[in-house]
């Protein structure tokens, strides 16, 4: 390997060539709001680009610690950003394959003695060369039960996070306060995680735009009355329990589509393409959110109830 180190590196050209720009542009285009997250990711990307340039000029050889924690309320886009992050790290050459393996406690922790280690290792093997995304990571640690097998999974994870830094990146996600408690109980994680990114809640306006984008993707649209209803819905829904940001909006839209289909089905005239695409105010206003109660379907809709 007698390759002569270049004298200078054009960071701008690097930025274009590596495809990092594409990922960041995609992030800007596809994700509404999340300004602090986007700027943190830009900073991280810049750091990694500079690090890579430094390595190529022979200034440093250490792989930077890339493990991250994403904190924020449910439905704020943590999984989506993790996906983009995997793409970004792949373009920069910090992970070889750039796939995302998304797991929760159930996938890592076993049911009986001797079940946990193989299970955790299985997941780690699948995540090699990519990004391991652990959702609600604090469930791994249960302080009230000292015989809980979560501890075993934590130990294996810590070991791999240290020894296989070149092979995979671990992203842990969950509520901010519970993650803080988790990290203070497991100082090993705190010291191995370099990047903490906090996901803020969406504003009402952003949620309105997200609703528009979601409907757009499915080929629906709101009539003016429904738009007003949607704005009202967001404000009301936020004050009610189990609010899960974009996920609540998605569920509300799914239910509105259901009502729209019902309305079209029960009316006695042929439907036009417009009829099929337009969601009207009554479709939205039938939701129990407007009558002050919890959404009538939330008991049944696991997703929403889960997004505590």
């Amino acid at each position: 390997m007698d390759e002569v180190a270049p004298v200078s590196i054009d960071l701008r050209a690097e930025y274009e060539e590596s495809g990092v720009r594409e990922v960041l542009d995609e992030l800007d285009r596809e994700l509404i709001g999340l300004a602090p997250v986007k700027s943190r990711i830009r900073e991280t990307a810049a750091l990694l680009l500079v690090d890579r340039a430094r390595a190529r000029l022979g200034l440093s050889h250490d792989t930077p610690t890339l493990h991250m924690s994403f904190t924020g309320n449910p439905g704020t886009g943590k999984t989506t950003v993790a996906q983009k992050m995997a793409g970004l790290l792949h373009r920069l050459g910090y992970v070889r394959k750039g796939h995302l393996v998304s797991v929760t406690r159930d996938d890592l922790v076993g049911q009986y003695i001797g079940h946990t280690a193989p299970k955790t290792k299985e997941v780690l093997k699948k995540a090699m060369g990519g990004v391991l995304f652990i959702d609600e990571a604090y469930y791994l640690y249960k302080p009230d039960n000292e015989r809980d097998y979560g501890q075993e999974a934590i130990e294996i994870l810590l070991q791999v996070m240290e020894n296989n830094r070149d092979d995979l990146v671990v992203i842990m996600a969950g509520y901010a306060d519970r993650m803080d408690r988790f990290f203070s109980a497991n100082p090993g994680f705190r010291s191995r995680i370099a990047h903490h990114i906090d996901f803020p809640d969406y504003t009402d306006d952003e949620l309105g735009r997200i609703a528009g984008a979601m409907l757009d993707a499915q080929g629906y649209r709101l009539d003016p009355g429904a738009q007003a209803a949607m704005a009202e819905y967001v404000t009301l829904r936020r004050a009610q329990p189990h609010f899960a940001n974009a996920r609540s909006i998605r569920n509300a839209l799914d239910r509105a589509r259901l009502r729209q289909a019902n309305r079209l089905f029960t009316q006695d005239r042929p439907v036009t393409a417009d009829d099929l695409c337009i969601i009207t105010a009554p479709d939205l206003r039938a939701s129990r959110v407007f009558s002050g109660g919890l959404d009538p379907d939330s008991g049944r809709s696991k997703d929403d109830a889960h997004g505590l």
Binding site: K97, H99, P118, K125, K126, M128, G129
Partner: protein, 129 residues
């Protein structure tokens, strides 16, 4: 005596990087990799011990290499081979197999002659240590 079976066995032993590259080749074709070991390298012994289940859904060779490392640690005096399984025909078919580890001292395979039915001779091979 150097045992030759599977791919690459007439070549010098593969280094870890070379094994890794072969595994990458397999994974790129969506083949699953299984690790097996034995202390009985007789060519007729097709049943080697499985080191865990074959590994499906891996994206990177590192996962396989970690298992190989563990298997070597546990069975330093065994033969270890990797099998790649192709499911294109609707069942998992061994499509590539190569030895990745040998004991420090390999056993010999010797030939035995047995006289049967008068002066007829039967030949058989045995592993001798």
């Amino acid at each position: 005596m150097r045992i030759t079976q599977g791919c690459f066995s007439f070549l010098p032993d593969l280094t870890d990087e070379e094994i890794s590259a072969q595994v990458e080749y397999c994974l790129a074709r969506d083949w699953a990799i299984g690790i097996e070991y034995t202390d009985e390298p007789h060519p007729r012994n097709t049943f080697w011990e499985m080191w865990g289940n074959p590994m499906f859904d891996l994206k990177d060779a590192k996962g396989v290499m970690m298992e190989l490392e563990d298997c070597r640690k546990a069975n330093p005096d065994s033969y270890i081979r990797m099998n790649a399984f192709d499911n294109a025909r609707g069942l998992e078919t061994v499509t590539m197999s190569f030895i990745v580890h040998r004991p420090a001292v390999e056993p010999r395979i010797i030939m035995r002659r047995t006289e049967v039915d008068g002066r007829s001779i039967r030949y058989t091979h045995e592993v001798a240590r």
